[in-house]
């Protein structure tokens, strides 16, 4: 056995093997050593477990005193191979995977993916399904922005906003639970429509929640908007102008903070967004404070869209929420039983007791899935973080040939270096928080 010498621990041999003794360094010798160094350049690892790095993000910082001279991001700690996994499942099962990518905006991942599959199939979801999607997406935008604002404030030392933001987020998650049975990773949006229609009384509950949220958002705003301590930490921090943002492919609130009103809901409407009346919020400060104000203002725009969606949903009551083609539409609908959410008992009664054909169809569709004509598409939607693009390739089979997500978190995180180099260490936290990266989406 060769003797292993550890530079940080003394060791001695015992009958049980080598025993290492780890002791702390001597501060005096450390100070002397640093004093002798020719330059003051220090390399510091921030993360991957630092609480202010939004999950498992690792930042390698080169510092000169308190000034950051170089920032490099280390990512990949949350890589789960979702893109690869979807190639081994049916097109419908893919929804269950992609919803787990960016875990703060599951509905967006699902909708983008389903719009891609629908484009490949050459079908369009029914109107009511689109209205439900829009309503769910805007709720999801609110819950995602709540986390962005709450944790962003927490990271800069403002504790109260976090508590209030998470309280409002809970209200939104309650709506998700009411509609889909799940609070996160719902797999609610399916190719061809949505998994099930809204339950009875949902619209009333949604309207009630919207009113509560609107009132509470107004109160929460007072905590930070115009707050002089907050502004000192955010104004002029994380500067990225339009030229920089375009070069780096930045989208979402970070791009809109440069003054460009680029929002795919307006520029390339999908799911019927052209029928809704809302404003694209911009700021012209290019800094963390501008992005913060944009997210705050987008909450109100989302509420406006939800209210309009509710009006439309009331009118479209009873219309289908899934395409009529039984070769694509997921056969069973969910229903709440006495043991929780599960397959609709009516459907089970039909396939088990009444219709052999229905049973065969159910079996074939659930196990084998449907075939999607060969080809490739790229579909993009406006997620809370920017352009969420899906590149789907089909070879004509029942499983995707390739699923690639153009994740806004992944692309926007590239701007960390541009935003932070030359700034103070403490400002990195604010800059990264204003990008709002979700590592589940970055690493996929």
């Amino acid at each position: 056995m060769s003797t292993y010498v550890d530079p940080y621990a003394s060791s001695r041999e015992t009958t049980e093997g080598t025993v290492f003794s780890v002791t702390g360094g001597d501060w005096d010798s450390l100070v002397t050593e640093i004093g002798q160094a020719k330059e003051e350049r220090v390399v510091v690892n921030m993360g991957p477990q630092h609480p202010s790095t939004h999950g498992v993000l690792r930042l390698v910082l080169e510092l000169e005193g308190e000034t950051v001279t170089e920032v490099r991001c280390g990512i990949g700690y949350l890589h789960t191979g979702i893109e690869k996994n979807t190639e081994y499942r049916s097109w419908t099962q893919g929804v269950t995977f992609v919803t787990r990518m960016d875990y703060l905006s599951p509905i967006f991942n699902e909708t983008a993916y389903c719009l891609g599959v629908e484009k490949l199939l050459g079908i369009e979801a029914p109107e009511r399904a689109n209205q439900i999607r829009v309503m769910m997406m805007e709720f999801n935008r609110i819950s995602s922005h709540m986390v962005a604002l709450g944790t962003g404030a927490l990271e800069l030392g403002a504790l109260s906003p976090m508590i209030f933001c998470f309280r409002e987020r809970e209200r939104v998650l309650d709506i998700f639970e009411l509609v889909s049975g799940l609070r996160m990773n719902m797999a609610y949006v399916r190719p061809g429509g949505v998994a099930q229609d809204l339950p009875k009384g949902a619209i009333a509950k949604i309207r009630e929640t919207v009113a509560e949220l609107r009132k509470n958002f107004k109160d929460n705003e007072k905590l930070l908007v115009g707050n002089s301590i907050w502004m000192k930490r955010t104004e002029g921090i994380g500067y990225l102008d339009l030229a920089g943002a375009t070069t780096l492919g930045i989208t979402g609130p970070v791009l809109r903070s440069t003054g460009l009103p680029w929002d795919l809901r307006k520029m390339a409407p999908y799911c019927g967004y052209e029928q809704y009346d809302f404003d694209v919020v911009t700021a012209d400060t290019c800094d963390v404070y501008g992005r913060f104000l944009i997210r705050i203002a987008e909450l109100e725009q989302s509420l406006r869209i939800i209210e309009q969606a509710c009006d439309k949903l009331e009118k479209s009551e009873g219309q289908p929420v899934m395409v009529a083609d039984k070769k694509i539409a997921w056969p069973s609908q969910l229903a709440v039983g006495n043991d929780g959410m599960g397959n609709s008992l009516d459907h089970i009664r039909e396939i088990m007791g009444e219709s052999m054909e229905a049973l065969i169809h159910h079996f074939k569709l659930v196990t084998e899935g449907f075939q999607v004509p060969a080809g490739q598409v790229y579909v993009a939607i406006e997620s809370p973080r920017g352009e969420l693009g899906v590149h789907l390739v089909s070879d004509g089979g029942t499983r995707p040939y390739r699923v690639h997500f153009r994740e806004p978190s992944f692309n926007n995180l590239q701007s960390t270096s541009a935003m932070c180099e030359g700034s103070m260490v403490a400002d990195i936290i604010g800059a990264v928080a204003s990008i709002d990266p979700v590592m589940g989406g970055v690493d996929r």
Binding site: I75, G76, H79, G81, E83, K84, N85, E87, Y88, S90, K119, L120, G122, T246, T247, L248, G249, I250, L260, W262, M267, A268, K364, T367, E368, G369, A374, G375, Q376, V377, Y378, A380, E387, G389, H391, V393, D395, G396, G397, T398, R399, Y401, R402, H404, R406, F410, N411, L413, Q414, D443, R444
Partner: protein, 211 residues
């Protein structure tokens, strides 16, 4: 694109009771599209042809499928054409690069797909480059669209496409010492058998394939 497929359940010999066992499907990729392409695609290709006289030589195929325009482009010309697309045709944004591995497409096994966006004109097109597995080199577009840096690293990591001229082409999602490129078709999904109440389910890539 991919090999011929037999049957409906990926089962060979006996075992397929679906009644579709004799079915043979061959996959054909959509061929070149003839003009008119429709929408703004004619104008974009015309503008590109005017700005880049070697268009016919550089662009192997023009495909319009499902309302999307794809320019299949030779890798030697990729950077030149990209610069013209960016500066003259105002495609300011490249939304990354997505690799696709077609093992059956001999000498063009690895494809790199670049979705482009023009914010000025609100237009989208797509570039596609195909290279052989034995020589997986594509010039890097980081000089043209800096935001492609991480995307090219990801495609290198996942497919082994080497982007020549990239400022630091290292793995980005997988660990630095990882062997192989996970999203290639010849890289098995892997996994471990799952045991539950005495019954064992094989890892996903060994399960019966529903294709």
């Amino acid at each position: 694109m991919s090999e011929n497929e037999r049957g409906s359940f990926g089962i060979h010999g006996t075992g397929d009771t679906s009644g579709y066992g004799g079915l043979v499907r061959s996959q054909v990729s959509p061929g070149s599209t003839e003009r008119p392409f429709g929408g703004y695609f004619d104008q974009v290709t015309d503008d590109l042809e005017r700005a880049y006289p070697d268009f016919a030589d550089a662009i192997e195929r023009v495909v319009v499928d499902r309302g999307e325009l794809t320019l299949h482009i030779k890798r030697e010309r990729l950077v030149e054409v990209s610069l013209i697309l960016r500066d003259r045709l105002k495609f300011e944004n490249c939304l990354g690069v997505s690799g696709v591995h077609y093992p059956a497409d001999t000498n063009r096994e690895l494809h790199a797909v670049y979705p482009l966006l023009s914010m000025t004109n609100n237009q989208r097109i797509r570039l596609e480059v195909s290279v052989p597995d034995s020589d997986p080199h594509i010039p890097s577009l980081v000089e043209v669209w800096a935001g492609n840096n991480w995307n090219e690293r990801e495609t290198f990591d996942m497919f082994g496409i080497i982007f020549d001229g990239h400022p630091g082409l290292t793995r980005i999602l997988m660990p630095d010492d990882w062997q192989g490129h996970p999203q290639r078709k010849d890289y098995a999904l892997g996994g471990i058998p799952v045991e539950y109440k005495g019954a064992t389910t094989p890892p996903p890539n060994e399960r019966r394939s529903y294709k």
